[in-house]
Symmetry: C5
Subunit: 355 residues, 5 copies
Amino acid sequence: MDGFVHRHTPPGTAPGVLSGRAPVVDEALDFTLVEYTAEECKILVGVEMDECRFHLGKAGRIWIDVAGRANSEMLQTLGTAFNLHPLALEDVFHAHQRSKLDIYGGQGFVVLNDPAYEEGEIRSRQVSVFFGQNYVISFHDHKLDIFKPVRDRLQATGSRLRTFGTDYLVYALIDLVVDRKFPLIESLAAHLEDLEDEALGHPTPTTLTSIHRARRALGIFHRIEWAERETILAVMRPETPFISADTRTYLRDCFDHSIAVLDLLDSYRDMTNGLAEVYLMQASNRMSEVMKTMALITVFFMPLSFLAGIYGMNFDRSVGNMPELGWPYGYAMFWGVAITIVTGLFVWLKRKRWL
Amino acid sequence: MDGFVHRHTPPGTAPGVLSGRAPVVDEALDFTLVEYTAEECKILVGVEMDECRFHLGKAGRIWIDVAGRANSEMLQTLGTAFNLHPLALEDVFHAHQRSKLDIYGGQGFVVLNDPAYEEGEIRSRQVSVFFGQNYVISFHDHKLDIFKPVRDRLQATGSRLRTFGTDYLVYALIDLVVDRKFPLIESLAAHLEDLEDEALGHPTPTTLTSIHRARRALGIFHRIEWAERETILAVMRPETPFISADTRTYLRDCFDHSIAVLDLLDSYRDMTNGLAEVYLMQASNRMSEVMKTMALITVFFMPLSFLAGIYGMNFDRSVGNMPELGWPYGYAMFWGVAITIVTGLFVWLKRKRWL
Amino acid sequence: MDGFVHRHTPPGTAPGVLSGRAPVVDEALDFTLVEYTAEECKILVGVEMDECRFHLGKAGRIWIDVAGRANSEMLQTLGTAFNLHPLALEDVFHAHQRSKLDIYGGQGFVVLNDPAYEEGEIRSRQVSVFFGQNYVISFHDHKLDIFKPVRDRLQATGSRLRTFGTDYLVYALIDLVVDRKFPLIESLAAHLEDLEDEALGHPTPTTLTSIHRARRALGIFHRIEWAERETILAVMRPETPFISADTRTYLRDCFDHSIAVLDLLDSYRDMTNGLAEVYLMQASNRMSEVMKTMALITVFFMPLSFLAGIYGMNFDRSVGNMPELGWPYGYAMFWGVAITIVTGLFVWLKRKRWL
Amino acid sequence: MDGFVHRHTPPGTAPGVLSGRAPVVDEALDFTLVEYTAEECKILVGVEMDECRFHLGKAGRIWIDVAGRANSEMLQTLGTAFNLHPLALEDVFHAHQRSKLDIYGGQGFVVLNDPAYEEGEIRSRQVSVFFGQNYVISFHDHKLDIFKPVRDRLQATGSRLRTFGTDYLVYALIDLVVDRKFPLIESLAAHLEDLEDEALGHPTPTTLTSIHRARRALGIFHRIEWAERETILAVMRPETPFISADTRTYLRDCFDHSIAVLDLLDSYRDMTNGLAEVYLMQASNRMSEVMKTMALITVFFMPLSFLAGIYGMNFDRSVGNMPELGWPYGYAMFWGVAITIVTGLFVWLKRKRWL
Amino acid sequence: MDGFVHRHTPPGTAPGVLSGRAPVVDEALDFTLVEYTAEECKILVGVEMDECRFHLGKAGRIWIDVAGRANSEMLQTLGTAFNLHPLALEDVFHAHQRSKLDIYGGQGFVVLNDPAYEEGEIRSRQVSVFFGQNYVISFHDHKLDIFKPVRDRLQATGSRLRTFGTDYLVYALIDLVVDRKFPLIESLAAHLEDLEDEALGHPTPTTLTSIHRARRALGIFHRIEWAERETILAVMRPETPFISADTRTYLRDCFDHSIAVLDLLDSYRDMTNGLAEVYLMQASNRMSEVMKTMALITVFFMPLSFLAGIYGMNFDRSVGNMPELGWPYGYAMFWGVAITIVTGLFVWLKRKRWL
């Protein structure tokens, strides 16, 4: 239930204080610095923070990508180095924030989510992007180099990323994070189709639990994407600083993708609800079949057993009781009656459509 | 589950790049060119793209219809030939887009959907329409000549299509795509009525699956039409370029039709939900009947079998046990008791309304 | 499922063309012409269309009521005679339109619905009203003289209908159509109360189907009234031409009635949902009782039958087996044990609250 | 189902006509007249209508309270005497109106609801309040003297009711009607808690019906209060005449109470839904226990009965069949086998957690 | 059902009168006075009310915290001492109010909720905050010193609490009350996880009741937080007096937290609904297994018992009946037939996937 885990500072802590229950992971952060103009693009992998700070002061466009989960001192240093608002830093620190756009004075701050689908659960992984006039600073908790495709495009001279401002870079990052949901949905879909086969074919007691888990994962995914959709809308608003009208056109495309994600999630939710019903139906059908078989056996054999029981009685034949027992063809007649009963029941049940 | 299939470029691809998973179908496209003024109308079927481009430059109104699914190079060429925005081209290329209106500079771009109902599933088929001051360029993935009725009307001198501008042609295309939903709904309805007969008459285990599939199809259909409704609203807005106030009046009529489609879909959804309940009820009724029959057999024969069992016991009559066995009319009395029990149970069950 | 039947022109037909699947009923239309001023009121029943046209040209207020379903030529003639917009005519022709207000140039056009409740189903019947400065033209598909009460009031000198303008007449017609829903709801309610008695008393397999049908009827009714409510709101808006502020006050009253209708429908929907649950509960209760009886019989007679079975065994008593069979009071003891078992079970079941 | 009963005039009746199905109750009305200024307050109980009319003309603030259900002539007379709008009078006459605010020229008209909870049902009882610059005229159908607390407060010199204008009196009446819902909810709550005990303890077949009835009552109550909430909002709006800004502050408090009522109703609705589920669960648990007991009996005794049946067979021992029957300890061995079977089943069932 | 308990004055009581059913708890109140400027901060614990009043008059910022539930006289005195609006005092007195913001003339009044989770139920505990230009007066019903963390931060020179105005203190209090929900949710979550284990492992009849209780608690919690979210939004609005733009930035952060709380509650609600379904499924699975075992026993032993019953019949072998009984290997053949039947049934059931 990772999506639910909440790390928070103790109530009453001053805002912006980076303490509390957040796990302080002491791993080195990976800094990637991209310095580019329309003419050239320099990429420095694995640089030190101080170098980043130095580049920030220079003219030209800068993009600093920070991969990994920083501890509080590191973040504090980064905050002062890059001039980030304490409230925004707190959001970077505590992770698992809802996607949103905040504007702090002369700086935009976008929180996005790049969730993972692991062991049937959606695990939220935060991506944070700060942006200003000429710089973009991105943070992501996981060490995966998710922004490589954008860096690659940046290296192509004449690409829109190079000719447009850093606002287009912000768009490219948002777009990438949104588009990364599609492969995720595909693996979810594959899992759901397996579940469908299972529910229609050989449902086991764990099938329903799996369906419930999938439903929950879809719910969490939907909430994540809904917040992202609202964030993109907010970024597209004319009053958002640094975002040009041209870039807004591209963001609208990105917004469409985010709606497509939501649409797909809605479809899969409908499907999952249907699956649960199909499963229950299947279970109930099997049960019905079992009961029907038992009922049939009972209906056929109870009267027959009673018949056999009668001729197993010990009434004194010497005083004239049970003359049937003495008839030469009594036993044959018994079988005749039994077969008649069976045939009669068979016809009757056939007519009632039980057989 | 075709409605769910999503084709997308790898995350991080530059917008407007026509690559990725979209199936590159290498079939020739069918170009149909209509050049018309209020006075005359020239229709050229099966023309080459170059000729289309040539006509675009001329005065007079032009409508180019492109049928079939283009590969990326073709689209690229078309894009530069007809001056289409790369983001719009991407939408044409990837198909299965949500219905929408986009305005790119001096060009309107409408995405519509002309879904098919095949094997119990709604298969989305995109229709894209570009429009400007004097031209309309329409794309549809399927090779069906769906726009023939509009072409026919264009040939009638004095028809509104001829006397009004190309915005009226845009309306006519949208209207046609919307109205094509009615026959679709009718076949859906016919299918649902069959299902209803099945559920009320002779439900089989597949009935529920069919109902679920129908429900899903209605859901997808509803989402498609809802987006289309919003698109028409957007086209009707006064700020949409090229659309005159006269045409807006007609679009409102088209909007009414789209609401009628949604209304019908709502009704069928209600009906389908009801169907599922009726089916479950029917199944449970059958089960109840089976159980009741078993219960009746048990209630009647268990006491009788016990009675027969008693007189099958071998207690030593010589020491005075079981004197009934020696009575002259013991056997007759046994039957008397049995018949009394049966009658008593019968009356009792009759009173309890079991019989 | 009349409410679902949709009659439409083939997709791609020019708007305003009166063709397609609409049943062309060839019955004579009934024209009723009312010409009135504050001082006098002249009512002409069964006039010809030409006469109507003639009166339209004159000064004074005119109300033409057309009863019955016209074929396309008739409507075309009417359209040109009375100067009605082709799109509005199309709506009159195809019937079963959603309630709405359209303004075509110098003419208002209101679509209302006067549904019938027949055989458990809501059958939509369209009422269309055109209005201008000094005239009202109403159409209704059914030949019932539904507007008689208004005509009667028109004849009373000094009545508000006479002293106010034709906008008040429009209000009066809308008000009448809305108020005609109350008796309809009452017959629906009577039907629902019968169903409630049935569900609580002696539910049959058809009860649920009836409940479902009622639910569907309520759903269709609700959709109809909801559209009507919106229409009245639209008519009340200050920008609607020809409607004076005084009449708006009365329309608000009419709007309240329409909300009252919706409120009642909501209540009945809740009730119907409750009914379905009560029905299912009742069915399940009956089933439970059946199973319980069977269980009781099994619990009592299975042990007894086993007991009797034991003493029906043929072990060789001569070698000392089954001495009980030879005891003088063996049989009496058998009965003692049987009665003890029965009593014990009885007490046990009593304590478990089964009996 | 009193909440559903609708009394209405026949469709097509002129608005403001006080006829139709409304029950014409011929009971004398109780008039209570309060004439007050900041300095003094005169209360006249049981006055005649003419006297009321006389006082209306005078300077000073007047509050006339009319208790009981008037017949149409009385209302007509009252209407002309007090100068009330015919549409408002119609609403007073027909009762069971939705709560609302209407402004007729120089007069405000508020409809409220003071429902009663009788025999598990919510019975709507209308309270109507007319207000102008210096007067308030209130009507309530029931003869209960519900406004006594306000009259008492009016008699206290210096109370806000005396120093403020009649708009504060209007507030006081609305507030009282809203607050009268709290004791009502409490009796509903007491009833629901009884039902909860019943559902968890000893559910009877009527429990579910009671739960359904409670749910319906809550639904009707919610609709009533929702309309009242909207009415208070409307009265609070700055454009409502006669209501001063000071009184608006108090109305906001009253609005909060009305939201509190809705909140409580929501909570009780959730609870009632939970109750129904608990009830069904309880029923299903009982059924399960019954079936389990039957299954246990069957599992234990069927094999035993078969065993006894074997040794009841009459194979001819003289030809060597069934030697067990002749063994000296054959009978003891039979019991040994029987006990082994029972023990084995017991252990097996214990392991499967059935016992 | 504490969340439902409503304490209210009798209907018709003048607003602001502190009487009625509210329990008058006669415990001493704890006053804590904080007087601070940017330079210094003086905290006085356990002061008298008079001293508080004295300090209110002085320059500098004042925060008075009142812990415990006051009786009506005390509140009245406090009201006049601190100049609080009677309607606000009424809200403080009656507790269990919905969270809200009211502005009374020159004073803001915020109602918050600091609920407790006790014995599976959410118990609402009101926190009220009055604020003006230079003072904050807070009330909380419980004697817990919940505001200690804020007091501690106030003592740190240079902290934002000291340098900013009292509006920042208001924010700090709201933030603390919101953040106190996180530990609450965690204990709820722990409880839900226990329930999940129970439902999946060893469900008892009380499990469902617990699930229902948890669902209800989540519902009440959600309503509380929703109101709080709206309150924070209201405080953030520019027209709210005394709140500076800087503080609004911090309030937005607090607003985010409140949305996070709602998000978590939504997730847990989904999970709880899933739990109930899993529980029911588990119960039904167990039942199915029981029925299946009974069915199997019946299917195997009924035919066998019938077979044994046949050879227990006493037909007279001397006239040629039942020759099988006399065959030398008759008994062995009986067993052969029995074993064949068992094997056949076994294979059949294996193929039907029952075994």
